[in-house]
Symmetry: C2
């Protein structure tokens, strides 16, 4: 049973967009009166009835509403220095949404390979990954943010920064307390500058290691996110 997306489905009657209408009517061959599930991207899933099975504009009506659908009791915020190669960021967003992320911030660091980032494509990727993984919530995707702006923003108590240097680093096993909100900060390929790590630690971030191999930025981000979700499994 596929999940469709409409931000205003809770208002009652909506038209699915052209692509989803086509998928619903042409591909799945659903008809008037058939049931579909529509997520609003904010955690609510509606069981809907198809009012008009139009392949260009399929109209659906919410019949039953389930709030906090598959909502986890914790929130994970991934803050990552965007890679030069945009495909790697897009891939990361797709996988992060499937595995479970609530907030995503591209962080611009001293060694960043990219200073600007269009998030509209990331939003689209997040929507299809949300549907693919049968979720009803989209992560908040922030625009490119400087490290100091991130550090001075409102962050959860559990603050982890993945850092390749230094001997005071601990494992996520030691640092993360199951069930708690957390933010994980992942640096650029060139790693953080020492002053950036110092700044992050002043802001309450604990340096963690992901093992002794060198992971690409997007791999480190996905590995850390997988570990946090796994601890909460």
């Amino acid at each position: 049973m596929p999940i469709f997306y409409h931000p205003d489905i809770t208002s009652g009657i909506v038209s699915l967009d052209a692509e989803e209408s086509r998928h619903c009517v042409k591909v799945l061959r659903l008809r008037e009166g058939d049931s579909v599930s529509v997520a609003d991207g904010r955690g609510t899933l509606c069981r809907c009835r198809i009012v008009s099975a139009d392949a260009r504009e399929c109209v659906v009506e919410a019949v039953e509403t389930e709030e906090h659908y598959r909502q986890r009791p914790f929130r994970l915020h991934l803050a990552v220095a965007p890679t030069k190669n945009m495909a790697r960021i897009e891939w990361l967003v797709e996988k992060a949404v499937e595995i479970g992320v609530d907030e995503f911030t591209p962080v611009i660091c001293q060694h960043s390979e990219r200073g600007v980032l269009k998030t509209d494509r990331l939003e689209k990727i997040a929507i299809s990954a949300m549907k693919q993984s049968l979720r009803a919530s989209l992560p908040v995707i922030h625009g490119a943010t400087s490290l100091s702006d991130l550090l001075s923003s409102n962050l959860p108590q559990q603050r982890l920064v993945c850092y390749c240097e230094g001997n005071q680093r601990q494992s996520l096993h030691q640092v993360y307390a199951r069930g708690h909100d957390a933010v994980v900060l992942i640096g650029p390929e060139g790693d953080f500058a020492p002053s950036e790590i110092a700044h992050a630690m002043e802001a309450g971030f604990v340096p963690v290691t992901l093992g002794d191999t060198r992971l690409r930025t997007e791999t480190a981000a996905l590995y850390a996110l997988s570990a946090l979700n796994f601890i909460n499994e």
Copy 2:
């Protein structure tokens, strides 16, 4: 300090291939007498001296040999039904090598979207991921294998199959014993056929769940591999 690759470096004096020679001499501007590290892909890392800094054919001589470089005390075998989209398999191999995998088998199942698979490109991707992540071993990459051939092959005692259905599934937390060799079997988008799961269970595979969301094949594979590596961290 980058790592280069040559399967015969332990024999003493070898020529790096054209691409690595160019990288070594043109990009890194290394000269005769400079040191480089060369991995043989079977766990041995050699500290080498550049004998001839030729940008087309850089000749290096092994000076010091370290066997079992960063070798882990356990082996992880990922057996995955290949996706229709080859880019997703290539991505999976890159990430799996970075995170840590010792054996990779594309498994052909009843609901597989792909029955054949060229592994030569996967080998290349594994080599560059090995160098990227500063490892000295390449995973064994098998050709496309039928599920029954896999099940009748020589597998580690810890056998896990990720399955979307069934209520007898356990979490990896409950099933996997830290430090042990393991094989993880991941099915196609259409999941395993019930008869395939039955066959796998007869062969000693324990059904595990990766949570209640639906993960793409390559995402499930990477999440499971991350969890097993994290348990061993």
